[in-house]
């Protein structure tokens, strides 16, 4: 349970900042005032989604494209193809920006799902069945606390991953680089999955609120 080293706040009030989620909301919407580092990528992605903002896209590219390339190389793709695919993934980010919901996933998480699907494409040429899209209530402004929490979560998980002993970190990485089969994951008892339990509860509350 080593991921528990990074304490996961169970309530929004337990978080140190921002003190006022509503103020944060205006920042994200207008993108005039400087946003906090934690919300930065979501705000950039919203600018891409709502305004086709190429400067925001370029900033996202500088951060994420090298990481997608690294992710794909670790997954066994050679450098040239990994870079080409990183470009494809970033182009998909632009093309499918309308599908991005900052309340449900951080940009890093969304990038991961697109990169993973690209990897499945090149490796197996198999289809990937995706769950039915939820008919989320069409509220114009997503809950800022949710956006904040999604970004925080990636920050927390990234820090927790860095703090893990090498052996356990390698195990998690190998699972997500696509190195471990289902039965290998099932046989592995050392996967530190403690922290995400609180995240699961938050996500579930959110789903229930949205669907009723």
């Amino acid at each position: 349970m080593l991921l528990d080293l990074a304490p996961a706040p169970m309530t929004y009030s337990a978080m140190p900042s921002p003190p006022n989620p509503r103020r944060q909301a205006r920042f994200v919407k207008a993108r005039q005032a400087p946003v906090t580092q934690d919300q930065d990528w979501a705000a950039h992605m919203i600018a891409v989604r709502d305004k086709q903002d190429k400067a925001a896209f370029a900033a996202l590219f500088q951060h994420f494209a090298p990481r997608i390339k690294g992710f794909l190389m670790k997954s066994g793709t050679d450098a040239a193809l990994a870079e080409e695919c990183a470009q494809d993934v970033m182009a998909t980010l632009w093309n499918k920006a309308q599908l991005y919901d900052p309340a449900r996933a951080s940009v890093a998480t969304w990038v991961f799902t697109i990169a993973r699907n690209r990897r499945i494409d090149i490796a197996r040429r198999a289809k990937r069945p995706e769950p039915e899209l939820l008919d989320w209530a069409q509220d114009d402004a997503p809950d800022q606390a949710d956006i904040y929490e999604a970004a925080q979560e990636t920050k927390r998980l990234t820090a927790a991953l860095a703090d893990l002993p090498e052996k356990q970190r390698a195990l998690i990485q190998r699972a997500f680089y696509g190195d471990l089969s289902h039965s290998e994951i099932a046989a592995e008892t050392g996967l530190p999955l403690g922290t995400i339990k609180s995240r699961i509860r938050l996500a579930l509350d959110r789903l229930r609120q949205k669907m009723t």
Binding site: R67, A86, Q87, L99, P131, L157, H182
Partner: protein, 210 residues
Amino acid sequence: MTIRHHLSDPLLIAYAAGTLPEAFSLVVATHVSMCDDCRARLGAFEAVGGAVVESSSVALSAGCLEAVLARLGTPEPVSPAKPKGQLPTPLQDYIGGDLAAVKWRRLGMGVRQAILPTSKGAIARLLYIPAGQAVPDHGHRGTELTLVLQGAFRDETDRFGTGDVEISGQELEHTPVAEAGCDCICLAATDAPLRFNALIPRLLQPLFRI
């Protein structure tokens, strides 16, 4: 619909990581479409994937960004959600329609099946079991996932109602029986052929690709 039997963590992690055989992915995607609990867990595992991407950086060649900027066009509009059918949409994609479009083949005793087109490594099929009827008892060489889409069945381990998924490994020899009152429809995926205990089904096995 109260779901009592969910997907395991290893299945959701492997699906999040993109390493499940297609037939198993179909069962996962279909169950997640029916189950908020597993949808939330899947989202959490994908967030771990996001953290793994965050910590994997390799320098790009010069001109990489400019090449992408040059090819950006008009983003795609959101396509309207498909109307709800009897079956979840990932399954409909493989059937080519809703429940009425399934091309059933008879297996005898009123039991019917339809094999869905997935890549090698595992087989996905729909099973139709008349109310009160048993599926011939069988064991498994690998893993079998059985998701109930309609009705319910019982076997030696428990009762499985609509939305429940039974995960059985090599050790399980079971005889699923559809509950009285409603015909049972399941989506099942196996990564190795089933072993039937009776002689006749074993002879039929290559014929029907069970």
